[in-house]
Amino acid sequence: MYGWGVVKTLGIAFYHFVLTYVDEFRFKGKRRSAEALAQRQSAYGSGAFTVEYPQERLTLPERSRNLPFLVIDAETQQTRCTACGICVQACPVQCIWIERATDPETGKPARYPAAYHLDVSLCMGCGLCAEFCPFDAIKMDQHYEVASYTRPGFRNLQELSKPESYHAQIHPTAYAEEQARKAAKAKK
C-alpha cells in the first residue's frame, strides 16, 4: 500500500517518543540516581539518552584523558620529572618547554627541571607524553571543566603538579600496574 512506509516511519518516531517517558516509571522516580544513570547510558538503556549536566555527571572511564599533569612522588615529595626531554620529543604540537636545572655544587646538568611550561591552549590531549615518559612523571588528567574567562596560556611546574594520590585515585588499574612494576624492579 502506498504510504505504508511513511506510517511505519511515524510509528518508529512515536515509539521513541513514548520511550522517553518510560524511564520515569522504570526507575520509580529515581531516574537521576547513579545506578539508573549507568543503566540509561548502557546498551540496555531505552529512553532519553541525554544527561542533565551539570546535575547529572557521567563517570569517566579510567583512560579518559584531556590535559597532562606532573606527578609529585609520595615518598620524596618532589616531582618525578628528571628533565630528560622525552615528552618534548613526543609532543606533536610542541607545547612543552623544559629548562634543565644545573647542579649548584658541580655545575653539571641535574636530573630535575628548573622550569617546566605547558601551553594548555595548544595541547591537543593526545597523551603521547604520558605514554612515552619512562619515569611515570607525566600523566593525563580527567578534569574537564577547564573553561576560564582569560586565555589560560602557560602552566608552570607548580600549576601542573598534582600529588601521587590523585593519580592513584583517577587511574586505579594503571596505578596498581605501575606499583607492581616498581616492586618487581626493586626486587631485582
Binding site: Y2, G3, W4, G5, V6, K8, T9, I12, A13, H16, Q41, S42, A43, Y44, F49, L60, P61, E62, R63, S64, R65, A83, G85, I86, V88, Q89, A90, C91, P92, Q94, I96, W97, I98, E99, R100, P109, A114, A115, H117, D119, S121, L122, M124, G125, C126, G127, L128, E131, F132, M140, G153, F154, T173
Partner: protein
C-alpha cells in the same frame, strides 16, 4: 602478490612496447612524453583501469619533482606505481584528466602545491589555495607563516625552554610572514581570486544547440549552508531549475596537513591523522600505521590485529549511522533519523573511550600494534551491543530511511552514476559499490586479518542516491557479522611486539598503504629518507576524490536534488581540505 612482484611481472610486457621504460626499486619510471601512451596501454591492454592516486615529491638537491601515479586493476591486486621525473624549475607533465576523470582534482592539487603544470588539463586552477597565492606550499623551500625549524622536535623547547613563547605571539602580522615582492594589501581584490572560477562556470558544458535562448544564473550554495556538511561552496550554473554545471569550491579548512606532517616526526603524525576525517579517527590511524609497517616490515601480534579489525568495523558502523542519518536531514526527516544514529554512535564511542581514552581523537593505533590493551569487561560490553542492541536499531533506521515513500521519491533515480564513470572518476567505497562494482579493498587486496572472516562485499546496482544509502545499510550488517566473529575468537597475548620510541626512524624507501575506510579507499603515500621525520607524507583523501564525481552526478539534475546527491556521497570537509 606484492606490488614489486606485480611490477616485475608487468615490466617485460611493457618494455616490448615502450623500450625507454625502466624499473627501479620504487616503481616504473617513464619519460613524460610517453606518459599518456603508457597510461592508456595500462588501462586498455593490461586492465589497470583505476587511477587511484596522483601526487608529487620534491627533490631540490637533484633539481627534480617526481610525479607519482598509483594504478590498480578494478578486479583486485596490488598497486602499480608510475614515476615521471620533471625539471623542478619548469615542471610540465601531460595531463591524464582526459583519460582518467580521477586525475582532475589530484592534478589540480599537484599544480597548487608543487607548481607542476599539466598540459591538456581542461581546468587547471588552484584547488586548495586561492588564485593569486604566491608560491607552492609543498615544495621543500617554502616556509609557512609560523615557521620555526625544518623538523620537530624544535631545539628551543629543550633543554633551554625556560622562556616559552606563546604561539599567538608569533603571529604572521608581526615579523613571521613572507609576502611576495612589491605586494600591497590595497591592490588585492577578492574578485580576482574568483575570476577564474566564474570564467570556468560560464564556459563549461555549454550546449551550442540549445533551442531556447533562456537566461542562466550562477548560484553559490555555501560555504555556509546547512546541507553542505561543512564549509563547502558549490557554484552552480542554473537554467531555470536545471543544473547546467556545478563546480565545488573548497579549501576553507585547508591547513596544509601534509606540510605539517613533514615537519612532524613519524610518531607525532598519528594523532594528526585523527583530524582528517574526524568522524573516523580509528580507520585513519589504521591506514597510517599500515603504511608505516610496510616500510618498517614489522609483524603485528595476533591480538592487536583482532583489536584493529574490531575498532575498524565499529568505526564503519559509526560512519554509516552518521551518513545515513544525516542523509535523512537532507531529504526532510529533519534531525530525527540523525539523532537516532547519533544515539547508537554514542554507545560505540563509549567503547572507544574506554579503550583509547578519547571519543573522537583516538590516537590509538601504533606501528606494530595498538597503544593499549582492551580494559576488563570490554568484550562483553561490545558483544551486548553487537548481538543485542545494534541489530534492532539498525533495522529500525533502515525501515525509516529505505521504506519511506518520501525518501524514495527524493532519491530513487536521482544522481545516477554508471559503473564505467564510477571507475573512471576514481570513486571508492559505498559510492563505487552502489554503482555495481564489487570492489572492496578488504577483499581485493586483503590487509590485516580480513582474509579470515566470513563476510560479503555489499553491492547494489542502481547507482542512484537511494542505492548509495542502501549499500551503507548492507555494509553495517556485514560489519556486524565481522564483529561477531572477531569478538568471539579474539585470542589473548601481547598487543605490541616492539619497543617504540618517540624518534622512531623508518628505513629509507617509499610505501603506499591503503585500507577500506568507511568512506572508501584511504591511502597514505609515505617517502622516508631514513630519518625520524617523513620526507613526503601524502594522503589519498577519500572524500576529496569522491567529491570529484559530484559535478558529473549533478549535471542536468534539479537544484533541489543537488543537496540529496551531495548527502549521498558522504563527505567530511576535514578530509577534503586537509
Amino acid at each position: 602478490m606484492k606490488s614489486h612482484e606485480l611490477m616485475q611481472e608487468i615490466f617485460p610486457v611493457l618494455q616490448q612496447r615502450f623500450p625507454n621504460l625502466t624499473l627501479e626499486s620504487n616503481g616504473l619510471h617513464v619519460a613524460k612524453r610517453q606518459l599518456v601512451d603508457v597510461a592508456r596501454y595500462l588501462r586498455d591492454e593490461l586492465g589497470f583501469n583505476y587511477l587511484s592516486s596522483v601526487t608529487a615529491v620534491d627533490y631540490p638537491q637533484r633539481g627534480v619533482i617526481d610525479v607519482v601515479y598509483h594504478f590498480y586493476r578494478i578486479s583486485g591486486g596490488p598497486e602499480l606505481v608510475l614515476h615521471v621525473e620533471v625539471n623542478r624549475n619548469a615542471p610540465v607533465v601531460p595531463s591524464l584528466t582526459p583519460e582518467f576523470g580521477s586525475a582532475n582534482f589530484q592534478e589540480r592539487e599537484v599544480w597548487d602545491m608543487f607548481g607542476v603544470k599539466f598540459e591538456g588539463h581542461p581546468d587547471l586552477r588552484r584547488l586548495l589555495m586561492w588564485e593569486g597565492f604566491a608560491g607552492f606550499p609543498l615544495r621543500k623551500d617554502w616556509h609557512e607563516a609560523y615557521y620555526e625549524e625544518e623538523h620537530k622536535p624544535y631545539s628551543s623547547r629543550f633543554p633551554k625552554g625556560g622562556q616559552p613563547v606563546m604561539a599567538e605571539e608569533r603571529t604572521p602580522l608581526r615579523d613571521n610572514i613572507r609576502l611576495p615582492e612589491g605586494w600591497l594589501a590595497q591592490d588585492f581584490s577578492y574578485d580576482e581570486a574568483d575570476l577564474a572560477l566564474y570564467q570556468r562556470m560560464l564556459s563549461a558544458n555549454r550546449d551550442p544547440n540549445k533551442p531556447l535562448k533562456t537566461d542562466e544564473m550562477i548560484l553559490n550554495l555555501g560555504p555556509h549552508h546547512p546541507s553542505t556538511h561543512g564549509v563547502l561552496r558549490l557554484a552552480v550554473r542554473l537554467d531555470g531549475e536545471t543544473v547546467q554545471h556545478l563546480e565545488p569550491v573548497f579549501g576553507y579548512l585547508h591547513r596544509n596537513h601534509e606540510k605539517i606532517g613533514e615537519r612532524n616526526t613519524w610518531m607525532q603524525n598519528i594523532p594528526y591523522t585523527d583530524r582528517l576525517d574526524y568522524i573516523n579517527g580509528m580507520t585513519n590511524n589504521l591506514a597510517y600505521v599500515i603504511a608505516m609497517e610496510k616500510l618498517l616490515g614489522w609483524e603485528v601480534p595476533e591480538r592487536a590485529e583482532y583489536i584493529r579489525v574490531i575498532m575498524a568495523e565499529f568505526m564503519r558502523i559509526v560512519n554509516h549511522l552518521v551518513a545515513t542519518g544525516f542523509f535523512g536531514n537532507d531529504v526532510g526527516i529533519y534531525m530525527t533519523a540523525s539523532l537516532y544514529g547519533l544515539e547508537e554512535r554514542e554507545l560505540i564511542l563509549d567503547l572507544f573511550e574506554a579503550a583509547s581514552g578519547a571519543r573522537m581523537m583516538f590516537n590509538y593505533m601504533r606501528p606494530g600494534g595498538v597503544a593499549a590493551d582492551l580494559p576488563e569487561g570490554w568484550i562483553e560490553r561490545a558483544l551486548a551491543l553487537v548481538e543485542d542492541r545494534l541489530p534492532r536499531k539498525i533495522e529500525m533506521m533502515q525501515t525509516m530511511l529505505t521504506e519511506n515513500e518520501i525518501v524514495k521519491a527524493r532519491s530513487v533515480g536521482v544522481g545516477v552514476l554508471s559503473p564505467q564513470e564510477a571507475i573512471s572518476l576514481g570513486c571508492s567505497g559505498p559510492v563505487l559499490r552502489a554503482s555495481g562494482v564489487p570492489y572492496d579493498i578488504r577483499r581485493a587486496e586483503p590487509y590485516s586479518i580480513y582474509d579470515r572472516f566470513d563476510f560479503d562485499v555489499a553491492v547494489r546496482y542502481g547507482g542512484d542516491a537511494y542505492d548509495r544509502i542502501r549499500v551503507r545499510f548492507d555494509e553495517m550488517w556485514q560489519s556486524l557479522r565481522i564483529l561477531k566473529q572477531a569478538l568471539r575468537s579474539i585470542p589473548a597475548g601481547p598487543i605490541q611486539a616492539k619497543k617504540l620510541t618517540p624518534l622512531l626512524k623508518l628505513p629509507a624507501g617509499e610505501a603506499y598503504g591503503r585500507i577500506e575506510a568507511p568512506k572508501g579507499e584511504l591511502g597514505f603515500y609515505l617517502v622516508s629518507d631514513g630519518s625520524a621525520n617523513p620526507y613526503r607524507y601524502h594522503i589519498r583523501a577519500t572524500s576529496l576524490i569522491n567529491l570529484g564525481a559530484l559535478s558529473q552526478l549533478t549535471r542536468l539534475a534539479k537544484i533541489a536534488d543537488v543537496v540529496v546527491i551531495l548527502a549521498s556521497i558522504d563527505l567530511t570537509m576535514g578530509e577534503v581540505d586537509r
